[in-house]
Subunit: 337 residues, 2 copies
């Protein structure tokens, strides 16, 4: 195994704004030898998520920032090529916390075996049946707590998380409104996913007026993927006892000086709640959550998109699509064999 | 009754910052005649609360802003001098929504009779046994949800609400830290009320460092009376799954351009919750709450201060003590017979 060479994208310096190839260059290094209890996997899929941008910054977060010189942390799916653990064996396909790299060496205890013959494409375990779908499920149901007849507003509604949130909210009997960044995305969420209305935030003009027009009964749950001006506008549309579930604030990740929301007084005016969450809060319920998502998926009740990009060397330009909104659904890097 | 003249302090224009006598002048007008179901009370006590400053502004709020030319809305205790309702009779002492005025004409259905011979000073029904105590009780217990062993941080801790919050939190077995604006106030909350530590925010320097020093295990519940820089500092000290109960943001009421909290990302970093509330959310539980507060009071477990100022013509300078922190406990205007 000693001849295996690992191409790694690593954090050379913390990005001042949008990450550049100077911030995240690559290097070819020998694959780290697995310690006892560890295994090496050859990565097949790498998940690209907005949260990774947060980890590149030196701010307090739910997990440590990526250290300077460390590879860019990411969820991965790969095949075990060497194991120093009884938990996984050579040839197994597993999901693991890994990095933007060809090979990941990590504790086998943190790897979840996947059945590559289940008929479910492996990439789905990074999207609708993975952290993305679970974020939508637990964030909406446990943080947003929608009730039938309520109005649920979702930003980044054509995104990997938002598109699932809206469909689950529809299943709860809610009036569901999504905000997305193109006419094509808006059509997809209304015509294909069943959202009641869509707002093209790039052309709608005044956000608050657009939200009020699409949510004539106000907003009971706002599932916030973006923060910034859209959060401020949504705050002005909240109903009494409404809930804002904060998944992440992609609009602010590349701007360390982004101001705080100016309309937060609405919390007192409407006895409203803002709650942050991460999917890791629900790790003990992942099995339950995947089961629920799989049931809906098999019943034809959940649609989703994956944008799969070959190959590892496209990881940074692929990642940046999250920030200009040019991706179509869940972004995944595939590394062909 | 037609000869009764009412001195009223009213909203001539919305204050740009700290309310001035030009914003809130007085007028002497005939007392409004009571319609069917209404009564006139001769006010004995007027409650001065930070929330009133919010009602003077034309922002969305949990109740309508005070209209220009209307008297300044306030809770009052008074004696019925004329009743057009079976619910209250001449001579009854009642609490009501009233105004900064000598006489209030209001619906009897909104008046709560008080027993002036119970041995409890009437003013207490505006402080520890009134909206102030109930705000502390429900805000801490239902929004903050403290558990034994957790750390509870309270701002404006020597104030009417904060001082009750801290004492209730101590009864829950919490480590309780208060922030107040003078050494005297800090001594009062630690030496008399049993807070574990106090921070003099006027002399402590860096808020975040001071909070971290006084809360070595971090903050699980922050009962926020002030907003602004202290909220931002408290956000940086939050523990995972912590709760911020927002009672009001007195530091921002006189500054329409106050920026939003810049550290709100901490909600996601710590899966924390910020929830706004007003005591009116709990109106159906007022009886239960007053009973609980009275039980603690009679058991000697609750201490409180009232700063009672004579007379109606001191209402505006009295009110402004809330904003420079020169008041000592619950501010009440008394109008001697």
């Amino acid at each position: 195994m000693s001849e295996l060479i690992n191409r790694q994208y690593y954090l050379a310096k913390r990005p001042a704004s949008v990450p550049t190839p100077e911030d995240v260059p690559f290097r070819d290094v020998p694959v780290a030898k697995p310690a006892a209890g560890e295994a090496i996997i050859r990565n097949m899929y790498i998940s690209l998520d907005p949260a990774i941008r947060g980890w590149m910054s030196d701010v307090n977060n739910y997990i440590d920032p990526i250290a300077i010189n460390d590879p860019i942390r990411s969820s991965v799916i790969g095949r075990v090529v060497k194991s120093n653990s009884d938990l996984v064996a050579e040839g197994d396909v597993v999901m693991s916390l890994g990095a933007w790299e060809r090979y990941t060496t990590a504790p086998a205890a943190g790897m979840n075996k996947l059945d590559e013959n289940s008929g479910i494409p492996l990439s789905n375990f990074l999207s609708v049946l993975g952290p993305t779908g679970l974020t939508a499920l637990f964030g909406l149901m446990d943080v947003g707590k929608p009730k039938a007849g309520e109005t649920v507003l979702v930003s980044a509604a054509a995104g990997a998380v938002g598109s699932i949130v809206g469909q689950i909210a529809k299943m709860q009997g809610c009036h569901v409104v999504g905000m997305a960044g193109s006419e094509e995305k808006c059509r997809w969420i209304t015509d294909e996913l069943g959202f009641d209305a869509a707002i093209n935030y790039k052309t709608c003009g005044d956000y608050e007026a657009a939200i009020k027009a699409a949510c004539p009964n106000g907003v009971d749950v706002y599932f916030d993927n973006v923060g910034g001006d859209i959060l401020d506008a949504a705050l002005m549309c909240l109903n009494r006892f409404s809930r804002v579930a904060v998944c992440g604030w992609i609009s602010t990740y590349n701007d360390a000086d982004a101001p705080g929301p100016k309309n937060l007084w609405q919390l007192v005016a409407e006895s409203a709640t803002i709650q942050g969450f991460v999917v890791l809060d629900y790790v003990e319920r992942f099995g339950e959550g995947v089961g629920q998502l799989a049931e809906w998926l098999m019943a034809g009740k959940l649609q989703f998109k994956e944008e799969i990009i070959d190959d590892l060397d496209n990881v940074l330009p692929g990642f940046l699509k999250l920030f200009d909104g040019s991706n179509q659904g869940k972004l995944i890097i595939r590394i062909p064999e």
